[in-house]
């Protein structure tokens, strides 16, 4: 019995209920929300400490023995994801608070905080879930909150995007439920550790069918090509800090679930070849899409799709090196993608524009935000010495070291995709920051900076927003600085994922295989 394990999702869910009661007092709402997400971060670190001491930790809700009760499990991958996600959740919440202080740009309905906390709870529950059905519930909590967040302060474009997003997500949820039913019908279990001992005995046809079902379900949720079409259409429509949290966490949670199910339940790697092909396609389609776009948010959404390909590539190799690369890439991408969306929000704030053909000359307006953009953009493209380079290097080494022809090809595609990312990022960099501003009617947006017209509150908000973004960039750089220990940790996590024994023992007890 481990008391720390439920905290990362129990805290925010309780907090969501609390903040719903406190809608009348905005200051209280903000303080409580930030305090709770900070608590989640602390709890996640505690989980990581427990994992580093004891290996895989698990707890049974209500002390029901393993395959019967609700199981929560944390291994090294879970702990790492929890820590990184909760830090990003905290940063974006503080950013949103900073934007909300000015509050003229967007109405900030009080439903934001409860929905945000519920989303945090859903994400953490998905990471910790030790059985399929709980994973489904975690996903639903996360997705339902995301429906609310996406359609906050509605306008026609947002409604259109919201409808697409909701219907696609619901379809994948129904498929998930059906997959759970089929899995249960085939094996009589939903507990992941229990399932992992039973899938061995299934006929190979049934096993492949189940593996493919899981791939489709998490492929839709994770926007893997050709199931990605909903993402670039819906994410950019939301309020930008909400897009940032979606881009950072929702697709990554799906990829996490994909890694968990494919490694734990299907040790014969039925989907290996298909996933390799799909990974290559995702990289190319996503990044070519990014090159054709004008809207910065849409460019970033397409690069998000493209970079999901890198994660799937690492998983599809099914080697310790490949999974290590995928885990490193997850950490890097969560931080950097969120930062880029936050920076694009700052750009929009400063110039009142977000499409490339109307942007220009931003470096003269604010050199600081140019710097804010440059670092994560280069990290995303994989320039040394940033976190993107470390993660990409690990992935490419794994790809070229695997000795399979197809893996070589996809690794070559990955190099090309990195190059395309660099092109997409330099396009924003040169067009938005360095060329002279195109002759357009003066934008409605105010001039930024500490000009005398700003009230004290506005100036405070400006500083808070930029400070948080800078802190996120620093966090991204820290990932690169501590690449050594992080790689060791990821390698242990990858070994655990492939060997499975520690996970099974932690849940089912020592006597089981």
């Amino acid at each position: 019995m481990n008391i720390v394990l439920p905290l990362p999702f129990a805290l925010p869910l309780a907090g969501a209920a609390l903040t719903m009661l406190a809608w009348r007092w905005p200051a209280l709402l903000r303080t409580v929300s930030v305090a709770i997400v900070a608590g989640v971060t602390a709890a996640s670190i505690l989980v990581a400490v427990a994992v580093s001491r004891e290996g895989v930790v698990s707890t049974q809700a209500g002390d029901w023995p393993a395959p019967l009760g609700i199981t929560l499990v944390a291994d090294r991958l879970t702990a790492l994801m929890l820590v990184v996600s909760s830090v990003v959740l905290l940063a974006i919440l503080i950013y949103a608070v900073g934007q909300g202080i000015v509050g003229q740009k967007q109405a900030e309905p009080s439903v934001f905080y409860p929905a945000y906390l519920a989303l945090s709870g859903g994400v953490c529950l998905s990471f910790l879930a030790g059985d399929l059905f709980n994973l489904f519930v975690g996903f639903e909590v996360m997705l339902v909150s995301s429906y609310v967040l996406l359609t906050l302060s509605p306008n026609p474009a947002r409604m259109h995007a919201g409808m697409t997003y909701v219907v696609v997500s619901l379809t994948s949820s129904i498929l998930f439920l059906t997959t759970i039913a089929l899995t249960y019908a085939a094996t009589g279990a939903v507990n992941l550790a229990d399932l992992s001992t039973r899938t061995e005995d299934l006929p190979s046809g049934v096993r492949t069918a189940l593996a493919l079902m899981f791939l489709v379900v998490f492929g839709i949720k994770g926007a893997v090509v050709p199931l990605h079409l909903w993402l670039p259409d819906s994410y950019p429509a939301a309020i930008t800090q909400i897009t940032a949290i979606f881009a950072a966490l929702l697709t990554k949670t799906a990829v996490y679930a994909l890694i968990r199910t494919q490694t734990l339940l299907f040790p014969h790697h039925e989907t290996e070849t298909l996933m390799l092909v799909v990974a290559g396609l995702t990289m190319i389609v996503g990044l070519l899409g990014a090159l054709t776009q004008q809207d910065v948010h849409r460019i970033l959404s397409f690069t998000l799709v493209g970079h999901i390909g890198f994660l799937v590539f690492g998983l599809a190799l099914f080697t310790v090196a490949g999974l290590t690369g995928a885990i490193l890439y997850l950490v890097h991408h969560i931080v950097v993608q969120a930062t880029l969306f936050l920076v694009s929000d700052i750009i929009q704030d400063e110039s009142g524009e977000i499409t490339l053909n109307r942007l220009g000359g931003l470096v003269g307006v604010s050199a600081f935000s140019a710097a804010l953009f440059f670092v994560p953009a280069m990290s995303l493209s994989g320039m040394p010495p940033m976190s993107g380079f470390v993660a990409k290097l690990a992935l490419l080494q794994a790809g070229f070291g695997s000795g399979r022809g197809l893996a070589y090809t996809v690794a070559a595609v990955a190099v090309l995709a990195s190059l395309l990312t660099l092109v997409a990022m330099s396009r924003i960099w040169t067009l938005a920051f360095w060329r002279p501003r195109p002759e357009t009617p003066e934008p409605s947006g105010e001039e930024p900076g500490d000009e005398p017209g700003l009230t004290r509150e506005e100036r405070y908000s400006h500083r808070l927003v930029r400070g948080v973004t800078a802190a996120m960039i620093l966090f991204g750089l820290l990932v690169a600085v501590f690449a050594g220990p992080l790689t060791d940790w990821s390698e242990d996590a990858a070994t655990g994922l492939l060997e499975r024994v520690e996970y099974q023992r932690a849940v089912l007890g020592e006597d089981r295989p």
């Binding site: 519930v137 639903e140 409604m159 439920l177 059906t178 759970i180």
Partner: protein
């Protein structure tokens, strides 16, 4: 018995997905509800043959035939979730109707832009070919 339910599940999935692909939002909502039923039925079917009680209070579980209660519990949870989400979907469809004044899904903005651009590029030839005047 089970075969009938199996066919019903298949039928529900078919109709559900068909409705989901329609342009009218109300049909989409109904389609989603049907899909939810289909998924819940398959959960129920996963629990084995129907008819026996789900729980026997006695001490000896071998005494009588018992239906697996776990899929029923899962179906119950899933019903609650689909119920809530359907309500949200209806509200969203209503909001969308308030904004747009119609129940149809609009063309995607990006699609429309690409279509106009393609037409502009090829405009001359096609217009001269198709226009009777």
């Amino acid at each position: 018995m089970s075969v009938v339910l199996l066919c019903v599940t298949g039928l529900l999935f078919t109709i559900g997905f068909h409705l989901l692909l329609q342009r009218s939002l109300v049909r989409v909502v109904v389609g989603f509800a049907l899909l939810g039923h289909a998924a819940n039925l398959s959960l129920l079917l996963a629990g084995g043959p129907a008819g026996a009680p789900p729980l026997l209070g006695g001490k000896d579980p071998e005494a009588g035939e018992m239906t697996d209660p776990l899929p029923q519990a899962m179906a119950l949870t899933a019903i609650v979730i689909t119920f809530g989400v359907t309500a949200f979907l209806l509200a969203l469809a209503y909001r969308s109707w308030l904004f747009l004044g119609e129940d149809e899904v609009q063309d995607d903005v990006e699609d429309r832009r690409i279509r106009t651009e393609t037409r502009r590029d090829q405009g001359e030839e096609y217009d001269s070919g198709q226009d009777p005047g």
